[in-house]
């Protein structure tokens, strides 16, 4: 399986990469881990004149905790680096677990969190949990930068608001005082399978009272989505098994999945019901530890 011809540029800095993207135009694309780009080019769904590699850009890999900003994840951090990050293991184990359940070890060693986001695939596993945690992203060009909530980034399958010369440099999880969070990827196999549905929950509990909750679903709409109907149902309520089942039903009723080879619309909706209930339970229980 061979790749079509293209030019290759190894950018040494974000500025250089941005300038190259700007001057080479829409027939040029960034490559980070390349796990998506290679696959699409091999399958013939992506044709490009130039690839601009950012893997040699320094300082885009670190995962740190900043008192003011929160946890800052460099866009080039690989899935395995996310999984093994001491900062994330301490603050957001749910993000490490998400990484752990992605792809396989080989892909986790090269695939990056920035690529997972920028690719904007509805089933991408990092999206629901990061949205539930209220993550923000920074997009940088050679002349400036802007930031936005991650949930505002997506427009449709493989479509986002990113501009041609922008580079996603960091993902920030601000301190929101959640007591627990969890992501459940429901795939047809444990390894190397994409999510049929993905459910992420971040919750703030006070004893059995739900003070605040954010729920995001993956693979059930053209973009990852929040489910405000469920969040409103739960906020300010005492948690009971009946309430969690109702939450699952409301989530299922408020999502619009498609039929495809991984599952029918009806099946996906029912799995949303089941996994919303279970993921809520896990995030809530984590809050009591």
């Amino acid at each position: 399986m061979y790749l079509p011809d293209f030019d290759y540029h190894a950018a040494a800095s974000v500025e250089e990469a941005s300038n190259l993207l700007g001057s080479l135009g829409t027939e040029a694309k960034l490559i980070a881990g390349g796990t998506d780009v290679m696959r699409m080019m091999k399958e013939g769904t992506l044709a490009l004149k130039s690839l601009i590699s950012i893997t040699r850009v320094k300082d885009l890999k670190s995962i740190t905790h900043d008192q003011e900003k929160g946890v800052v994840i460099g866009a080039l951090a690989t899935h395995n680096e996310v999984m093994l990050s001491p900062v994330l293991q301490e603050k957001y184990m749910s993000v490490c677990e998400t990484a752990h359940h992605m792809a396989n070890n080989q892909i986790r060693n090269i695939g990056t969190i920035g690529g997972n986001i920028a690719n904007a695939v509805p089933s991408a596993d990092f999206l629901p949990i990061l949205i539930a945690l209220g993550a923000e992203i920074t997009l940088q060009t050679s002349s400036g930068s802007r930031s936005m909530p991650l949930e505002d980034f997506f427009v449709g399958p493989r479509q986002s608001v990113i501009k041609q010369d922008e580079i996603l440099t960091e993902i920030i999880i601000p301190e929101k005082g959640f007591s627990g969070s969890n992501y459940h990827k429901f795939g047809l196999r444990r390894s190397g399978a994409l999510a049929v549905v993905g459910v992420a929950v971040a919750v703030t509990m006070e004893d059995n009272l739900c003070k605040d909750v954010r729920i995001a679903l993956g693979a059930v709409a053209p973009t990852p989505v929040r489910v405000p109907e469920v969040e409103e149902l739960l906020r300010g309520r005492e948690i009971s098994a009946a309430l969690l089942e109702e939450a699952g039903q409301v989530a299922a009723a408020n999502c619009r999945p498609i039929d495809d080879i991984r599952g029918s619309k009806e099946y996906r909706q029912d799995m949303v019901r089941v996994f919303t209930r279970r993921t809520l339970r896990k995030a809530i229980d984590a809050g009591h530890v």
């Binding site: 399986m1 293209f6 696959r39 590699s53 792809a103 396989n104 090269i110 190397g192």
Partner: protein, 168 residues
């Protein structure tokens, strides 16, 4: 990275790969995959090509000590980096302990997955000399075998654990 343009206007790039302790300088096109340089230019055909989409793991090599699918990595991206292939495991004609264990446990049937499987096992045992069975199975989850049912492969890898030393 140094590049030259050929008569047809196609660019070629000068790269140096450090493979199994030797350095090789080659001129490659941007679209040359690491697996193809290893197999076609360096004659290191122990690394196999299977699905070529990152699913099957038969092309697994260690890049800076970590298992990756060499079918998903551009040769230009591997410039200046350390690569270990199955050919680099044996030392002075003596097989690596994992290779011996695959032979002893009948973990090789058709053999097509073995190189990748052994490279994944090598990386695991280097970073975690005493893995649990679960950890072994996870480490090779990206290496598909259609013959063995994995039982003897897992047995072979487990037999190389530090805690098994001298237990024969």
């Amino acid at each position: 990275m140094q590049a030259v343009q050929d008569k047809e206007g196609i660019k070629r790039y000068l790269i140096t790969l450090h493979v199994n302790g030797d350095s090789y300088t080659r001129v490659v096109k941007a679209n040359t995959l690491l697996v193809n340089v290893l197999r076609d230019d360096l004659d290191l055909t122990g690394t196999k090509k299977g699905c070529e989409l990152g699913d099957c793991g038969s092309c697994t090599v260690l890049l800076e000590g970590k298992p990756v699918n060499s079918c998903m990595v551009l040769a230009v991206e591997a410039d200046g980096r350390e690569i270990l292939t199955i050919e680099g495991l044996a030392q002075n004609e003596k097989l690596d302990q994992i290779q011996e264990a695959f032979v002893d446990n009948a973990a090789v049937q058709c053999g097509y997955c073995s190189s990748g499987m052994i490279m994944s096992a090598k990386a695991l045992l280097t970073s975690n000399p005493d893995p649990t069975e679960q950890e072994v199975r996870e480490a090779i989850a990206g290496n598909l075998c259609r013959c063995t049912g994995y039982v003897n492969i897992v047995k072979a890898i487990l037999s190389c654990r530090k805690s098994e030393e001298g237990s024969e």
